[in-house]
Amino acid sequence: MRDVAIIGIGVTKFGELWNDSFRSIGIEAGLRAIADSKLAGNEIDGIFIGNLSAGRFINQQHIDALIADYSGMATNHIPAVRVEAGGASGGVAFRQGVMAVASGMHDIVLVGGAEKMTDLDDPAINSVVDATADAEWEASMGLTFASLYAMIAQRMIHEGTATREEIASFAVNSHAHGALNPNAQFRKAITLDTVLRSGKVADPLGVFDCAPISDGAAAVVLCPLEEAKKHTDSYVKVSAVEQGSDTLALFQRPDITSFGATVAVAKRAYETAGISPVDVNVAEVHDNYTVSGILALQDLGFYRKGEAGKAVLDGEVTLGGGKLAVNTSGGLKARGHPIGATGIAQIVEIAEQLRGSAGKRQVDNPKYGLAQSVGGTGSAVTVSIMEAI
């Protein structure tokens, strides 16, 4: 197995992109990544696309072919694969791409994530998201996806793992960073009060505890580490990409105040990369809800259970606030959450940080970056660790 490098990255703006179709979004990110890698395009020998549900959002299945076609690679008849794992679709697609190159079966692959959510109305969109929970025994019983995370938050508050304010502060952190990201959906800092007083969604979570509905795409180009210099000076090493599954339904877990899959997968990733949590300088975690962000910090080993919330509230994970900067992109909450694209957008942000091209969001000399992508209520988790060269 050979080491893999990221040699090119690209993102679209995230937001309600009324003028853009799924096709145009998907292609835009891919072409940017290829240009960034200084490749012509013909070198790509495989495509992996993370996408939650083009089938339901835009009534289009078979988007592997769509992306290969509209990015001009179908004429070369290269393999294209669409990957779905709930909210972790992007993270899982990334792992598939890394495995393809590491194994030697592929030499240069394009890994992208794309989602066009706003061609459906809100009730229909929510119904697609609810289907990433247990459709028969959670969604059909009248539970919304947000209420599942709300119940996790309720239990955490009950057990003293975090307070309502600590949970809410994760959104403050995300927005503080989003304000520095020109591609973010929301580019305004917010106060804790705004989060606490926002419209109710599922108690205790309000509108500002929840990531928005977004359109957008992101892409990276991968090649063997030893070949990277041939293409560009600006590349990062993929030190680990680990993935794990868990029960589909939240109620089947022995403990709902921790994502067992995150804990297990993070452990594997740190072992593979040969590092500990304390070595990570910058992390992109899956804050589809504020509570998920707190869970991530505890389950990834950055903070002990019960201490993550206070750290966020105290600004320790905000740029300049401590040793670990979290969600410098703005996270899912402020950067936006076109579901299939999110996992790749996280990789793009970590690559920017490790290459030193993160502009106003730049962390000081980061060596290791981590990205965590989550599907459902922790039913699928990927943890990727990248290293600056």
């Binding site: 025994w137 019983m141 009248g142 209420s147 109710k200 109620f251």
Partner: protein, 134 residues
């Protein structure tokens, strides 16, 4: 629209909390499973039907304000993970409850209620909800 078969197939679980019990390790599962995750091949084809206890208590809950259309008349409404007396956790709505009084540990019991319907001319879907034990 889904066929009638999809919901009909789930009636034992939806009406009567019917799950499975592994004959090897005696562990109880809800919903039904074809094999026990612990005993795997040994349990295949041998899983027994088991009806969960209809009483339990609230393990965690939330009050839903942004609701799916089928629950438009009920919002805001409470949902919960209920731990039954046989120690099984299930996801459910709470009914006939004062939203200010919902709390972790509240004793509740299962009742049959309308969950949804396939429109005004479609089949009505019934299933369990939980009400406070008075």
């Amino acid at each position: 629209m889904a066929t009638v078969a999809k919901e009909w197939r789930e009636i034992p679980g939806r009406y009567n909390l019917e799950g499975s019990k592994c004959p090897c390790c005696k562990k109880i599962y809800f919903p039904k499973r074809g094999l026990c995750p612990k005993c795997r091949r040994e349990s295949m084809g041998k899983m027994e039907d088991y009806n969960l206890c209809r009483e339990g208590e609230v393990y965690t809950y939330s009050i839903i304000h942004e609701a799916p259309e089928c629950n438009g008349k009920l919002k805001p409404y409470a949902v919960a993970l209920v731990k039954t007396k046989d120690e099984i956790l299930i996801a459910t709505q709470l009914a006939d409850v004062n939203l200010d009084e919902v709390r972790i540990g509240m004793p509740v019991r299962a009742v049959l209620r309308k969950l949804d319907s396939d429109g005004p001319s479609g089949v009505i879907h019934y299933g369990f909800k939980f009400v406070p034990i008075r």
